[in-house]
Each structure stands twice: as C-alpha cells, then as structure tokens.
C-alpha cells in the first residue's frame, strides 16, 4: 500500500506519532537519514540533519516521494542531486509543453509537408521569380540587420526571433533549415553591425586597439559561420552507383599503398585487405610504394604477390612517391590508401560506378573511418559516445561540399581518374597538404569530384597527443599555404560555390589566433580595465545572446549527428595555440616549413600529463584565475555602475576556464597498453571444440591478437582451452586455431595461435575487410541537444582540473591533500536520498 499522506505529514510522524511501535521510528530514521548514525551523534550532525530535512521537503519532487520504509524502491530513481534536479526540470518542461501544446499544433498543420510542397511549386522554376524573391528576402534581412532599435524594441525583436526559431526547429525538412539559417545569419550580422557602429571607444587608444582585435576575431568567426552554412545546409547524400552487369566492362584499377616509416605490422593488414577487394583479378594491381626501401617489405610483397616499388630519392615525400608510381603503372584509375587504412571488399564496386556515369568525374573520396580512439577520445574516455573531430568533416562537410561539386581529396580512401591527374602534372607537390591542392587543380580544369559517405576503409587514429597535434599543424599549415599560393577565390575555372567551399576549408584552419583572442578577451576588462566592448552590459546581452543562441540552434540541427554542441570549441581550444603560429607563418612565408610524417601504431606506455603540450594552457588558466579574483575584487571595491559588466566578464572567464579545463583534460595522456587495438565489431563465429561439438558465438571486439566473444551460455569454455573458430566471408568459411585466455560469464577472450601469412590474410579479409564492417558506426549514439552538449563539455572541463591536480608535482602535495579533504567533507555534509529499510 502506498502511503497517501503528504511528505510533510510523514516527516512530522517521525517525531510525534508512533502507532507502529518503537521499531517503526528506528526504521524511518534509517530510511530518511541513511548517512546519520543516531547512536553516536556528533556536533556536525546538527548541520547535516537540517540539511537533510530541507532536502527531503524542498527538493525531492512530489510524485516521486520516497515510499514508506520496507516498500521496494523503483529501480533507477533517486540517484542524488543531479537526478532530482533533472527530473524536476523535465517535469517542468513537459508541463509547459503540454500547456502551450506546441507539438500538437504542429502535428496538426503538417508543416513539413506544406513546406516541401512549397519548394516544389512551378513558380520557382522561373528565373525572374527566383531573383525577385531572393532580392526581397535580402532587402528584408538587411533591414533587420541595420535598423537601430531602442533597448526595448531590441528585446522584443530578440524574443520574437527566438520563439520563431524554437518553433521552426521542430519542423523537419530543408525549408525549415533554411529559415533557421536565415534567422541565425540575421542575428549574427545584426550583432556585428551593432559592434561596428556602437561599441568601439574611439577616445581611448588601448580600448580601441584591443577592441578592434576582438572585433577582427569576431568578424572571422562570423565569416566562418556564414561559409559553414553555405557549405553544409544542404548535404548531397550521394548513393553508390551501379556498375555494368558484365565485369568485362569494368575499368582497370591500380591500388597505391604508400609507406615511409610505418612498421610492417601496420602495413600487412592493409595489403591483405586490398587483395580481398572484389574486382576482376586481371584488372586490379596492388602496389606497395616503399619510400623506406626496406628489405622486409620487399620480401613480404613478393611472398603475398603484390608489386613492390621504390625510388632513388625521396623528393616531395608522399606526393612524390605517388607521382613516381604513376609514371610506372598504367591503370585507368588509381585508388590510394594510406598504409594503415584497411579497405573493405566492397570499396571499388561501390565507388567506381560514378566514374562510368560521368566522364568528367575525376575524383571520388570516401570517409576516413578510425577504429581506434584518437588522443582526444582516449584521454577523455568518450570514444564512440561523442562524435570525434573527424566526424563532422566526413559526415557533413564533405557531403555539403559535394552539393557544390567541391569535395576535395583527402589523401587516402579515394579513387582518381588517371588522365586528368596526368593533365595537371600529377599530385601537387608545392604544399604539405598535397591532397586538397590536387583536387583544387582538377576543379580548375573543369573536372568534377564526388563524395560517397560510405565508410569502406578504416584505420588507426594517431596515437599520442603530440603526434595528433603535429598532424593538425601540418593540415593547418598546408591549407594556409594553398590559400597563399593558389588562392581559391582567385584564378580561373572555379564556380562561386567551389570558391566559397575551398575558402572555408582554408579559413577554418586560421582559427588559432581568433580562438586565443576569445580566451583572453575578458582579461582586458578584468585586469586592464579596458572597455573593449564599449557598451552597457544589458545591451551587450541583447545583441550577443541571439548571435550565440541562433548559431547554436541552427548548428545543432545541421551538425548534431556529427558534432555535439560546444565540442567544436573544445577541439579548437585544445589546438589553437599550436596552430596559431604555423598558420600565420605559412600565410606570410608559404614556402617555409618542413613536412612531418604522422606516426602511428605506437604505444603510450605510461599514464602521464603532457606538460609540454599543456604549458601555454596552464598560463592561460592562471591568467584567467587571476582575472577571476580581480573580478571578485571589482565586485566589492569597484564602482557600482560597473557591477553588471564585471559579472558578464566573470561569466565569460568561467566559460573560458571550462574550455581550457577540457583542453587540459586532453593533455592527461591515458595509458595505452595494447599493441593492436580492440575494435568493436560484431559478426557470427563458429566455435569448434576438440570433442567435435560446435557452438554458435558472436564476436564483440577484434584485435590483431585475438577476439572477444559472446557465448550462448555460461561456463562453456575454460581458460587455457584450445579450439578452432571459423568466420564466414560471403559463402566461404575460414578457420583459425585459438586459445582461450579469459572467461567471464558468457564472455570469453581468445587469442589466435601463430597464424600463417595465408591465415592472417583470411582473418583480415573476414573481419576488417567485410563489406558491412563499418556501416553501423555511431548509430546507437545519442543525438545532440545543445544543453547536453554544454553539460558534456562542462564536465570534461572539470575533469581537466581534477587531472591537473592529480598530476601536480610533489611540491603541491599538501595543497592537493587539503583540497581533497575539503571536497570529501562537503560530500559528507550533503543530504542523501532516502533508502529502503527492511
């Protein structure tokens, strides 16, 4: 029976009415005050008991009251402060939504269908009506951007736009996306217009200089936002094209696998998988292009039967290596895989079809999929949960580029038509990002490119943070170089869309300095007392909030599947310092700088904090903390009319500190013990026991050394047991001898015995080479919501500071101990949720 009395009554009953005997009181006390020992009360319990009472009365929401002692708690309820607050918030939201009945209203109108129909009206086919509408809309937007408002009208304007965005967000379809983009562009442009016209203090040189600096960074952010909308608002989502039924009509393909210093163990699976690609045997040639000129590689190539190629010099690194091979081979198409990108068997059959449909098509790019966590994911422990840095690019940006015929070459997992490539003189060698430059040249000659968003190859992400940073520096520098020596905005042959997409790809990498400006901007006021935004706090909020909110609503809708809100800031913050210098240098001196190869396949042997990487961020953190204290001082001692400005700047500082915390969390390198990576990959496995019994199992994860298996029941295998397992690939079945190395419940880990090269090849082809190996990646991830993205980011920021403390030198031990003690004490004081007492 549920207790129908109110919580207050029951609490009162704790102390006054005892109808059920003395045991009842004891039970209730134990249930409602689980953390207090009433036999041995101490002085501080005088604080804890009232706190707990307050908690019970005020915070635990009605409807989810603790059941009377002895009754079973519903699972999952009452897990502490966060849970209760969240439930309260959800209840409030649900209530509001019901009362306003927004969703019902929209379902009734079926606005998505209406809007799609509107787009299909014949009216839009007339050029004149299109231009007229665009002109009219542009005029309205310009008016919205440039009309001066009083604060009150601005407030009204903001609220109307915000409500409109919240409504439109619920409507599916392209038209609604476009409206959201228009709203966001209006809000951001209006902010910038206001900043230019009303917020610069021309009377004070320091204010003006710093203010212009911040404004320049904001103009950059605005530009990238706009270009980003153009690029990604309407991704093409191209599908695979069918090949002719008769394989005799299929073209010849050369597969290039360039390598320089990677270990053979990394290259072997790639070669094996390449040999498993479904294509007529006489029309495919695999070339291992070894710039390292290693005998072991030569022997291996000979043993497995692929071509091996070296050259006398190593000029122009990878680009030179590819060009050299191009001169010596003759396939109509060239497929390029980095030596650690393992292709699936369906790679060519899914991709080549488009070349046969479109004779001007020169390039097909497919995603780079990584089955190991990159340093960010490993150090933050969010592999597979939060989309990584890469995913926005291959999930959305390249697909959006495809709409504008501006998909660019990414160096690997791509196919290029030989004739156009020879026409532009091979892979470009002038910059360190030869890939993007090559496709830019192809586009200039009027050739097309395509993007197929089917992950059909997978590889290792960079291992250590420093290597990862090194790789990003190279990309940033290369893009800045292209921007200087072959600027996509200038020159012949490109459409406007292509110019904008390429420009955005390059401008994006210039985020270093603007990001650093944002991270230090509030210091100007808090430390130097400089008004870099010369405006009242309230008007700043009224202009900047719509800019931020609309951008985040729109981006969350466009990008949510591929990047969670606020994570772009985390990734950029962590890299900003390192990218700032090389990009700037490359902009001014594009021919300087050397090429560094991305190291892969190594180990991070010991858990450590990468102090050298995080040093600049430590300085920024300290500056921001000092600013925070200074802000505190200003709150108490400063003039009263500045208080609002102080608060805003302090909030900004806290936001920056969170971001910096996340950047530092990345610097705490988690240990990576495995030589080969565990890759979550599911397929059926047959277990052949020595007594002739066969069992049906399922693989959970794979690594070069072994498999994690799920068995149909517990206790079927023992440690040390030897058996064989077989995997299917198409109709064929391959057998591998294994030894059981671990068992837990219905899970078991098996290690492959020494596999012969032939078996190793079969294994790669039956696992990584499966056509469906990577197709379901990220499907079970939770969709983005701006607020959740913010919470993810904030908790990562906290983690950064915890790790920083964890890794502080011994000198700080006493401080760390005391802070730890303080934290434990606060936790000890905190109220608990009631428990069940029998």
């Amino acid at each position: 029976m549920a207790d129908q009395r109110s919580l207050g009554n029951r609490l009162l009953g704790l102390f006054i009415v005892l109808p059920e005997g003395p045991d009842a009181l004891k039970r209730r006390l134990l249930a409602y005050f689980p953390h207090i020992d009433f036999q041995h009360l101490n002085l501080l319990d005088l604080l804890r008991i009232p706190l707990q009472l307050l908690w019970l009365i005020l915070v635990i929401p009605p409807g989810q009251r603790p059941p009377p002692p002895g009754q079973r708690l519903r699972a999952g309820l009452r897990r502490g402060l966060g849970g209760s607050l969240r439930r309260g918030w959800q209840g409030l939201r649900a209530g509001l939504a019901r009362r306003l009945s927004l969703s019902g209203f929209f379902e009734h109108l079926e606005l998505d269908k209406v809007s799609e129909k509107m787009l299909q009206r014949p009216l839009w086919r007339h050029r004149l009506s299109r231009y007229l509408t665009i002109g009219l809309a542009a005029a309205v937007i310009v008016m919205c951007i440039t009309t001066p408002f009083t604060l009150l009208s601005q407030a009204l304007f903001v609220v109307v736009m915000w409500i409109a965005a919240l409504w439109i967000r619920r409507i599916p379809g392209h038209l609604a996306t476009m409206v959201l983009v228009a709203l966001s562009v209006t809000a951001s442009s209006r902010y910038l217009w206001w900043r230019f016209n009303f917020t610069l203090n021309w009377d004070d040189l320091l204010d003006l200089t710093l203010g212009l600096g911040l404004l320049a960074a904001e103009v950059y952010a605005w530009l990238v936002l706009l270009l980003g909308y153009i690029q990604t608002a309407w991704p093409l989502q191209r599908e695979a094209a069918r090949l002719p039924d008769n394989p005799d009509d299929w073209p010849t393909v050369d597969i290039y696998i360039p390598t320089y210093n990677e270990p053979l163990g990394v290259v072997r699976p790639t070669i094996y998988a390449a040999q498993g690609i479904d294509w007529p045997r006489d029309k495919i040639n695999i070339y291992l292009l070894d710039d390292g000129k290693r005998d072991a590689f030569r022997d291996f190539a000979e043993e497995v039967g692929v071509h091996y190629m070296t050259r006398t010099d190593n000029s122009h690194a990878k680009a030179g290596n590819l060009n050299h091979a191009m001169g010596k081979t003759g396939g109509e198409f060239i497929a390029i895989f980095d030596c650690d990108h393992i292709p699936t068997r369906s790679f060519l059959q899914n991709s080549v079809g488009w070349f046969l449909k479109d004779s001007k098509l020169a390039l097909i790019q497919t995603p780079h999929h990584f089955f190991s966590p990159d340093p960010f994911e490993r150090n933050l422990g969010n592999f597979g949960k939060v989309p990584n840095e890469n995913e926005l690019f291959y999930g959305l940006i390249q697909d959006g580029n495809d709409t504008w015929d501006a998909t660019f070459f990414c160096g690997s997992c791509a196919i290029i038509r030989r004739a156009p490539l020879e026409q532009i003189g091979g892979i470009a060698v002038e910059t360190v990002t030869e890939d993007a430059h090559t496709s830019l040249r192809l586009h200039r000659l009027g050739y097309r490119s395509a993007y197929l968003r089917l992950p059909q190859a997978a590889g290792l992400a960079t291992e250590s943070l420093s290597a990862h940073v090194g790789q990003r520096i190279r990309w940033a520098r290369g893009m800045a170089q292209i921007f200087r020596i072959d600027n996509p905005l200038l020159g012949k042959g490109l459409s406007l869309g292509q110019r904008l997409c390429y420009s955005n790809a390059m401008l994006h990498f210039l985020y270093g300095i603007p990001r650093l400006v944002f991270l230090t901007a509030p210091l100007a006021f808090l430390l130097l007392h400089s008004y870099i935004i010369y405006a009242s706090a309230i008007s700043l909020l009224l202009y900047v909030m719509p800019h931020i909110i609309h951008a985040s609503i729109t981006n969350s809708r466009n990008q949510g599947k591929y990047r969670h809100s606020f994570w772009a800031e985390v990734y950029e913050t962590a890299l900003a310092w390192y990218i700032a210098r090389p990009t700037t240098v490359a902009l001014f001196a594009p021919h300087k700088g050397s090429f560094n190869v991305t190291a892969k396949g190594g180990l991070v042997e010991k858990e450590h904090f990468d102090w050298s990487i995080s040093k600049p961020y430590l300085v920024l953190v300290m500056l921001n903390f000092i600013a925070l204290f200074a802000g505190g001082g200003r709150l108490f001692a400063g003039p009263e009319d500045e208080i609002q400005t102080v608060i805003i700047n302090m909030l900004w500082t806290v936001y920056n500190l969170t971001m910096l915390g996340a950047a530092m969390a990345v610097a705490a390198e988690a240990r990576q013990v495995r030589v080969s990576h565990r890759v979550g990959i599911n397929f059926p496995v047959v277990l052949h026991l020595e007594n002739g019994h066969l069992l049906q199992g399922e693989s959970l994860d794979y690594s070069e050394g072994g498999l994690g298996l799920k068995l149909p029941a517990e206790g079927l295998l023992e440690r040390g047991q030897r058996l064989s397992i077989s995997l299917k690939r198409g109709f064929r079945e391959f057998v591998f001898p294994v030894e059981v190395v671990s068992t837990r419940g219905d899970h078991a880990g098996v290690r492959f015995d020494d596999l012969s090269p032939a078996q190793e090849k079969d294994l790669v082809q039956a696992t990584f080479g499966r056509a469906d190996a990577w197709l379901s990646w990220g499907e079970d991830r939770e969709p983005d919501r701006p607020l959740r993205g913010f919470l993810e980011m904030a908790s990562t920021g906290m983690m950064g500071y915890v790790r920083l403390f964890h890794h502080l030198p011994p000198l700080f031990d006493p401080l760390v101990r005391r802070l730890g003690w303080l934290w434990d004490f606060i936790l000890w004081l905190m109220p608990r949720n009631p428990v069940t007492v029998r």
């Binding site: 002739g692 019994h693 066969l694 049906q696 109709f731 079945e733």
Partner: protein, 249 residues
C-alpha cells in the same frame, strides 16, 4: 501448407537427421509441422523417441489400404510425424511406385484432404535410391532439397545425378571447415552451382550424433550448438524463399 521434399544425393548423407532437425526448427518458430518418412529404413521416428517396438507407420497402413494419417504421432515438443513403419521394403516400394505411376500427386491429394493450416510445413524424407517412377512424387512438392556432403563421393554422385529441378536447391550437410578438402569442395559446389546451393551449410557437429543417441533432434538436445543455429537459419531461409516461390506460382 507448404511441402518440401528432402533427398540425399547418396546414402548416409544425413537426410533424415536434417529432416527431423529442420522440422523441430520450423516448429520452434511457431509453424505446425508434419514430417513424413518415405524411407524404408524407418529412422525418422527415432529422433522423436519412437520406440523400436512400434510397428505402425505409413507403409503398413497403405498396404492394408487404410488412411496413412492414422499412423501419425506427435513428439513431446509437438512435432507431428508419420514413420515409415515396419513392412517388407520391396513390397512397400513397389506399392508406392504403382500408386505414383497411376496418380503422381496422390500424396499431395491426401495431404489436401487433411486440411492443414496455411502456415503448416510438410517435410517428406525420401530414400536416396529413388526408383524413377517415384520421382514425380518429389516433383509434386513446392520445393526440393538435395542433401549433399562436401566429400568426393557426394561430389561425384552430383555429376551423375542429373539436373536439379527448377524448384530445388542443394543443401550441404556435415560441413567441417577444419578440413581443407571439405572447405575446397564446399567452395567448389558453391561456384559450380551458383545460386542453387542453400547459402547456409549444416556443420558437422557432434551434437547431432549425440542427439540421436538420446533419441532427440539436435534442436532439443543441444540448443546452443552450431547445428541448431544452422537449422534455424535454414528454416528462416526456407520461409523466405519457398514462401515467395509459392506466392509467385
């Protein structure tokens, strides 16, 4: 009602075990099932704990000119089956041949009389050495499976046995991928008869033999075994494949 004839390409290919196991697997997915043993070895009932002493069956009934469905049994799990029964093999076979010669679809007509539910499956276990005049009996079924083993004897027999009927597939039974020869023959059969081989082979699993020792099908005796899994996959494949064929026809 869908009818499926199973016949081994040579003796001892394991057709009866497949028939019994497939019946149990189809039954496990909720289909009413009737298995009919037309093989004088009279083994089918043994997979459902039919005692040796039981002499009743299809052949004794037919020879006595009684309706054969009187000899139907139901296993503990609910699989219906009609054993061949104890009768003189030569006499029984010649009777069957005469009957088939005069009326090829007699068995199908008899089944129609039973008015089985629409989703019922009737599996008919035919002897491997089927006299020519018994062939029409198989041809009257919705679909046929020729059970083969991935061994040279089976493979050579396949070359002699003549073409597969349109509504028919080869089923590879007792496949042991650990043995190179079996793996090669398995791949060879798949290549020779592309599209005419059931995509799932039934593995050689000790569980099947142990099940018979316990007078059960492997589906009941070893639910986690690969053989059970293969039979379940085969049942799904048949439902999809033969279901289509019947609807199209």
């Amino acid at each position: 009602m869908r009818t499926l004839a199973l016949q081994g390409i040579n003796g001892g290919a394991g057709t009866t075990a497949v028939t019994a196991g497939l019946g149990a697997a189809l039954h496990a997915t909720g289909h009413p099932v009737l298995l009919i043993d037309l093989s004088p070895t009279n083994m089918l009932g043994r997979y459902f704990a039919l005692p040796w002493t039981e002499t009743a069956g299809l052949a004794p009934c037919l020879l006595a000119e009684r309706p054969w469905h009187e000899a139907a049994f139901a296993s503990e799990a609910g699989v219906n089956f009609v054993p061949f029964g104890q009768a003189d093999p030569a006499e029984a076979i010649s009777w069957l041949a005469q009957r088939t010669a005069s009326e090829p679809a007699w068995l199908i007509h008899d089944l129609a009389q039973l008015a089985l539910p629409d989703d019922a499956w009737v599996l008919i276990d035919l002897p491997c050495l089927l006299p020519d005049h018994l062939r029409p009996l198989a041809g009257q079924c919705d679909h046929q499976l020729r059970v083969i083993n991935p061994d040279p004897a089976s493979y050579l027999q396949m070359q002699q046995a003549g073409a597969l009927p349109d509504a028919g597939h080869y089923l590879i039974n007792r496949f042991d991928p650990l043995r190179t020869l079996e793996r090669d023959l398995h791949d060879l059969v798949q290549a020779d008869h592309a599209g005419r081989v059931v995509p799932t082979a039934i593995h050689r699993d000790e569980g099947i033999r142990e099940a018979l020792a316990c007078r059960q099908t492997v589906v009941e005796a070893a639910p986690h075994s690969q053989a059970t899994h293969d039979l379940a996959t085969l049942a799904i494949w048949l439902r999809a494949h033969v279901g289509q064929v019947v609807e199209n026809g």
